[in-house]
Amino acid sequence: MIRGGGWCFGSVLLAALLLLAAPASRAQELVADLSNHLIAISTAFTGTDVVLFGAVAAEGDIAVVVRGPGQDVVVRRMVERAGIWINGPSVTFSGVPSFYRVFSSRPMAEIATPAALEREGVGLEHLRLLPREPEGLSQARTVEFRAALIRQMQDADLYGRETGSVAVLGGRLFRADVHFPANVPTGQYIVSVLLFREGEVVEAQTTPLVVSKIGVSAEIFTFAHHQSAVYGILALVMAVSAGWIAGLVFRRG
């Protein structure tokens, strides 16, 4: 952590220097980077922190959005039928980020207009979660299932309950500590850094972040999913030979 911090601080300085070196160019209002672009999940993975850092040319408000890969998610509600609780109505949402966190230098309501937040899709209430089959779906049900989806994701620690903080140093440098829990989903993440002035986005930058599994168990998973037939046969071969060996041991025992 200390080493990471030192490296990070160095990078911040470098970034700031680069910025200051070209003050005339209005193109680079904002630079930002991550302390790490790859999160490797091994068997012993218990979560990790990634530092986002950067600098702005002139004062403004910073918001950071960390978004996991989109996926289809089915939300179901259990209903009672003849005394038994079974899965009842369901709504499938498309493009649901598997991970979502927002960080900001000040409360979001103070730094951006609702219209800007809506446009950028910043904040859980502005998350674009679209039902896959909107026909015949009442507004009330969409709202209800959307809320349930967000609550479940929050319970799983995949969506933030609150907006995290972006620390700003001297009005120019900023950093945010992004925590990824042990159950962080794999895939290509996108970290967006938004610079707000007077309630509107003046500049944005996105940085990719890859979360991937490494090690034997990841290879087994990939194998089982990509070569299911071969995997199935190997599972059988393993079971038959293990059983055979066990049978021989049994006989002696």
């Binding site: 068997t43 978004r67 890969p69 989109g70 996926q71 289809d72 998610v73 089915v74 939300v75 179901r76 509600r77 259990m78 209903v79 005394g83 038994i84 609780w85 899965n87 369901s90 499938t92 498309s94 493009g95 649901v96 980020p97 598997s98 899709g121 896959r132 299932f145 349930a148 989806l149 609550r151 479940q152 319970d155 996108i190 090690g215 034997v216 168990s217 990841a218 087994i220 998973f221 089982a224 999913h225 299911s228 037939a229 995997y231 199935g232 190997l234 599972a235 059988l236 393993m238 079971a239 038959v240 293990a242 059983g243 055979w244 060996i245 066990a246 049978g247 021989l248 049994f250 006989r251």
Partner: protein, 310 residues
């Protein structure tokens, strides 16, 4: 000793899985049943997704029945002809079962289906076993003799397609073992069990097989049904966790050794009574879950990567 189960995608203590395998192996050695019906609920309890519990359990049962059948084979207690006919039925049953499983998974009702079939079958089996073993214990108390089994059921002798099964000394319609096999195959696919607890009584009471060939023959055909179920679950649903299966197997083999030794101490009726009570406890537990209002009625299921938002 933490291990990450690659398909179940959970990190568990390997010793817990070994212990569970050992405990269930002990019971199966003690009572002479596979014990799959106890293992699947246990796996679900420690956080293995039900579908993975069923798939991996099928894989483990392949190994368990291979090792089990070896002993019966050496003693000549496997009726291959009977087993093969049953196998034809169970192939159809397993195929239908895995298809039903996929369908239920898509409908989001697989957990309900697993729980319900457990509750229904286990309660039924427990009731039958309890009834039988209480009678037996009671008879023994009174010093009477066990009633001779089987007043012939004429309907099963009127069925067509009769076949001769020499090893079992039977001349019966092939439809009977076919049907028993089919139902057994269905159970394997949907419940992740070998189906021994259903097959053994069905073979004795329905087919009229001699007790000596029942265990070996049912195990013989369970190898193939669980094998088929393993392959189909791996191929269709990717729900077979080989690491989980191996750990369960290792524990199970050791546990079964001890179980077999202890089984000499228990009388047959007492063992069956105990087993019936245990089956009843498992099914009552599952039933309570079905009837209890959930804490959060909503649940989510990730359906793989969709067209994501950038």
């Amino acid at each position: 000793m933490l291990v990450h189960l690659p398909i179940a995608e959970i990190t568990v203590n390997a010793l817990v899985i070994l212990g569970m395998g050992g405990a269930v192996g002990f019971l199966s050695g003690l009572f002479g049943v596979g014990g799959g019906f106890m293992m699947t609920p246990l796996l679900i309890f420690i956080g293995v997704p039900p579908a993975v519990a069923v798939g991996s359990q099928a894989n483990q049962l392949v190994a368990a029945s291979v090792s089990g059948v070896l002993g019966h084979w050496r003693r000549g207690n496997v009726d291959i002809r009977m087993g093969t006919v049953m196998l034809c039925g169970s192939t159809v049953g397993t195929l239908i079962g895995v298809w039903v499983f996929s369908l239920l998974q898509a409908l989001g009702q697989i957990n309900l289906a697993i729980s319900l079939s457990y509750v229904v079958f286990l309660t039924l089996m427990a009731a039958l076993m309890l009834n039988e073993s209480i009678r037996a214990v009671w008879r023994r108390r009174r010093g009477g003799r066990p009633r001779p089994r089987s007043h012939k059921q004429p309907w099963r002798h009127r069925l067509p397609f009769k076949m001769r099964f020499q090893k079992s000394k039977l001349y019966i319609s092939a439809l009977l073992p076919l049907a028993v096999g089919a139902l057994g195959g269905l159970l394997v696919a949907v419940m992740g069990i070998g189906g021994g607890f259903f097959l053994v009584p069905a073979m004795i009471y329905l087919l009229g097989m001699p007790v000596s060939t029942v265990a070996g023959t049912s195990l013989f055909q369970i190898i193939f049904t669980t094998g088929m179920a393993t392959f189909l679950h791996a191929y269709e649903n990717q729900t077979v966790d080989v690491l989980l299966a191996l750990l369960l197997l290792a524990g199970g083999v050791i546990g079964a050794q001890f179980g077999t030794r202890v089984s000499g101490v228990l009388k047959g009726e007492q063992a069956r009574l105990l087993l019936a009570l245990m089956v009843l406890v498992v099914s009552v537990n599952l039933a309570i879950d079905l009837f209890t209002p959930p804490d959060d009625p909503y649940s989510i299921e990730v359906r793989g990567a969709g067209p994501g938002t950038p």
